[in-house]
């Protein structure tokens, strides 16, 4: 029903490229660049849309409201597909998922007041994970700003600490320059969210769209190409290292450095550990890939950090989930830290060789400096430490094990799906067991750890990459935070398969309660709706899996058709994520399943 209602809009969108109004916009823009003013001044709302089209925007996640009605009034005239979410948080996460899946800037749109504040969690998520996002909010008319007007909120004040930049457009003339600047800031240097607040009177004022200008940003000059001297110092330290280790982070993906990293690793024969957001930046199937490091990283990967004499951090920030207690992190290692953000270098650890610059550029220069090296013995030693994550189909009670689900999902999708996650146990199992070889196929909230991220980000990823099979791996806690976006996923017929790993608990917190709080399961048992009925209510094909023998068949069922599907996997309630380094702990305190009572079966 809803799908049909939206179909004309989408058809219109397809036609835009060749003829019609999209063309008219282009022509107008070209007229502007030749200094000819169009005869008639345009509504600010139209100028906003034109400026967005000029930035290559063809998809917006948004939700209308009083302060953006003028914008919505003209939006259908433009070659921009608007996705009507069910809550603005969904819009921000969807734009985030879109950005991570495509490398393009994600755009979300909300009205003033509650619309704007509902974006906050999504903006903060994008900030922590360096995701290029432009959030556009309506604002009350300027003459009532500061009067506590209906649906007025100081969204630029609120978002100062969680945006790379934010700005209020105060006149119609600023629309072109501000939007141009916003997109540039969002995607350049260390990417991040930019919020543009647009009072309603600016949307209703008439004016002209200024042609794109060279940007004058004296306070913003990110270093892209690193200093050659620092590269030489890094190369020298790498040459001397006997037990070197690379820690690769999100910067590899952001800068598109996977190919360079593989070449570099193969030349210098240094094993690679991945941060949570580094997953898919270096192929998991590569013999030198150690996989996830940190709190729930693989034992051998964390032990390699502990024994390493040189650590090369590339495009990562030594987050506390990676380091544990910084004073005991990599106690024998000198640190080479490559990052585009100078403020990350030396923030957590004493750094021997700081290298400020783009990860890809740095790797290119390192490839010029370094001859082939070998560390056979070191690599063999690390591999001898390796112990598998346990993936038995069921536990002693015969109940389905969550790890088995993730392992089978990886096998049956041939490792080719885009996987988004929420936050918690299922996220860690997915990080350990869904082996990613394809850049940008892993989309997860790392820094902020935002529950509810999985479903809307899957929707954004799917709309950005319609050809892809997208799996939202979520828990029964997180999914209930944003499951209203099922409606949007169905509206848009996104190829999103939602896999709910249901253990009846807020599992990660329960695990901490079990291990560190004397099994005091305070407020972590959580009930769920009947997800199969819920799926049906949203017109989303849905099934429940309770036995290991059903896993393959139901995953294949979901894959057998295009479009949304929901599977609830009812799994062992008190299964824990191992290995685990307790928060603020060190490698020495690592708990592995084989050393626990649970390891006895």
């Amino acid at each position: 029903m809803t799908v049909e209602r939206r179909a004309p809009n989408r058809d219109a969108r397809r036609g835009w490229g060749k003829e019609g109004k999209g063309m008219a916009v282009e022509t107008r823009a070209r007229d502007m660049t030749t200094e000819r003013q169009p005869s008639e001044p345009q509504l600010g709302a139209r100028l906003i849309c034109q400026a967005l089209v000029r930035e290559g925007v063809d998809l917006i996640f948004g939700y209308p409201g009083g302060a953006v009605i003028p914008l919505y009034d003209v939006l259908p005239e433009f070659p921009i597909h608007h996705v009507l979410v069910r809550h603005e948080q969904g819009a921000a996460h969807a734009a985030d998922g879109y950005a991570r899946a495509t490398g393009k800037v994600g755009v979300c749109l909300a009205t003033s007041g509650p619309g704007a504040t509902n974006l906050v969690t999504g903006i903060a998520t994008a900030m922590m994970d360096s995701v290029p996002l432009v959030a556009i909010t309506g604002q009350v008319p300027q003459h009532v700003i500061g009067m506590d007007a209906f649906q007025e909120t100081d969204i630029t004040g609120i978002t100062i600490p969680i945006t790379k930049y934010n700005v209020v457009i105060r006149s119609v003339d600023e629309i072109g320059p501000v939007i141009q600047k916003a997109f540039y800031l969002a995607k350049s240097g260390r990417p991040g969210p930019v919020l543009i607040d647009i009072p309603k009177d600016v949307q209703l004022a008439k004016g002209y769209l200024a042609p794109p200008q060279p940007l004058n940003l004296p306070g913003y000059r990110p270093t892209i190409v690193p200093h050659r001297r620092q590269i030489r110092r890094a190369a020298e330290l790498i040459r001397q290292a006997r037990r070197p280790l690379i820690l690769a982070g999100h910067g590899i993906l952001i800068s598109g450095a996977t190919e360079e990293l593989v070449r570099f690793v193969e030349r210098v024969q240094i094993p690679v550990g991945l941060t949570l957001l580094g997953i898919s930046g270096f192929p998991a199937s590569h013999p030198l890939c150690l996989g996830l490091v940190g709190m729930h990283g693989f034992a051998h990967a964390n032990r390699a950090i502990h024994e390493a004499d040189v650590i090369i951090g590339i495009g990562m920030r030594f987050d506390d989930r990676v380091t544990g207690r910084p004073s005991e992190f990599a106690p024998h290692a000198k640190i080479i830290h490559i990052d585009i953000d100078p403020a990350e270098i030396g923030k957590v650890l004493k750094t021997e060789v700081p290298v400020v610059g783009d990860a890809r550029e740095a790797l290119k220069l390192l490839l010029e400096e370094l001859e082939p090296l070998r560390h056979d013995e070191w690599i063999e030693t690390i591999q001898s430490w390796s112990r598998p994550i346990r993936t038995a189909p069921s536990g002693p009670n015969g109940v389905l094990q969550p790890q088995y689900v993730l392992e089978r999902l990886h096998v049956l999708t041939e490792g080719k799906a885009i996987v988004t996650t929420d936050v918690g146990q299922h996220q860690m199992w997915a990080a350990q067991l869904y082996k990613c070889d394809i850049p940008h196929q892993w989309i997860s909230s790392g820094g902020l750890g935002t529950m509810g991220f999985g479903v809307p980000s899957a929707m954004g990823a799917s709309l950005g990459r319609p050809e892809a099979e997208v799996w939202a791996v979520v828990g029964d806690g997180g999914v209930q935070m944003t499951l209203y976006e099922f409606a949007t996923i169905v509206d848009e017929q996104c190829n999103v398969k939602v896999a709910i790993i249901n253990n009846g608990y807020l599992g990660m917190v329960r695990q901490w309660q079990q291990l560190f709080h004397n099994r005091n399961y305070s407020e972590t048992p959580i009930s769920s709706p009947d997800y199969v009925l819920l799926g049906q209510a949203y017109r989303m094909p849905a099934r429940r899996v309770t036995r290991p023998a059903e896993v393959d068949e139901v995953i294949q069922w979901a894959r057998s058709f295009r479009g949304p599907a929901l599977i609830e996997f009812v799994v062992n309630q008190e299964e824990n994520v191992y290995p685990m380094i307790p928060s603020g702990g060190s490698f020495r305190e690592m708990i592995d399943v084989y050393e626990t009572q649970e390891g006895e079966w």
Partner: protein, 172 residues
């Protein structure tokens, strides 16, 4: 841990101070004094910042400040041969018995000025390095300070080298 004096040149745009102060609050930097005003270049403001911290903390503060888009240049002038000035207004109790003592102290020793006199109080204006102002306040305190207002420190290095953007305008 020692006091650092930083000169921060910023674009004079709405919300810049808000961003900077928000940054200090969020990241737990302790600021002893902050003073802001226009510079020789239109559109550019100068913030003089005094902050305590070890070198690593101050380095982190500088790096984080640079991430504020409108921040153009930060110079740590702590180790320069520095002129530091602050202005304070001090309203102090004064009786017939104490008035002349205060006035002598103020004008002879501190070369400060009395800018207002009322039957039972005086307002003193004093300019100088923060230590001088501290010292005057200490001496005046026994008389009873009713009100104190300080501007925060501004600073400039001696000699011809300038903390500025680009080349100085050359007048033929």
């Amino acid at each position: 841990m020692r006091s650092h004096t930083l000169v921060v040149l910023v674009e004079d745009k709405p919300g810049v101070m808000n961003r900077i102060v928000s940054l200090f609050r969020q990241r737990g930097f302790n600021i002893d004094s902050i003073a802001v005003g226009p510079t020789e270049t239109p559109g550019l403001s100068r913030i003089t910042l005094v902050a305590k911290g070890d070198d690593r903390k101050i380095e982190q503060l500088v790096k984080q400040l640079y991430k504020v888009l409108e921040v153009i240049k930060i110079t740590d002038v702590t180790d320069d041969n520095l002129i530091q000035r602050e202005l304070a207004l001090i309203k102090v109790n004064a009786t017939d018995r104490t008035r002349s003592d205060i006035m002598r102290l103020v004008s002879d020793v501190y070369r400060a000025r009395i800018v207002d006199a009322a039957p039972d109080s005086l307002v003193i204006e004093v300019t100088g390095p923060p230590e001088k102002i501290e010292s005057l306040i200490t001496l005046i305190r026994p008389y009873g300070i009713k009100e104190l207002a300080r501007t925060g420190v501004v600073a400039m290095a001696r000699g011809s080298r300038a903390v500025a953007i680009g080349q100085p305008e050359v007048v033929a």
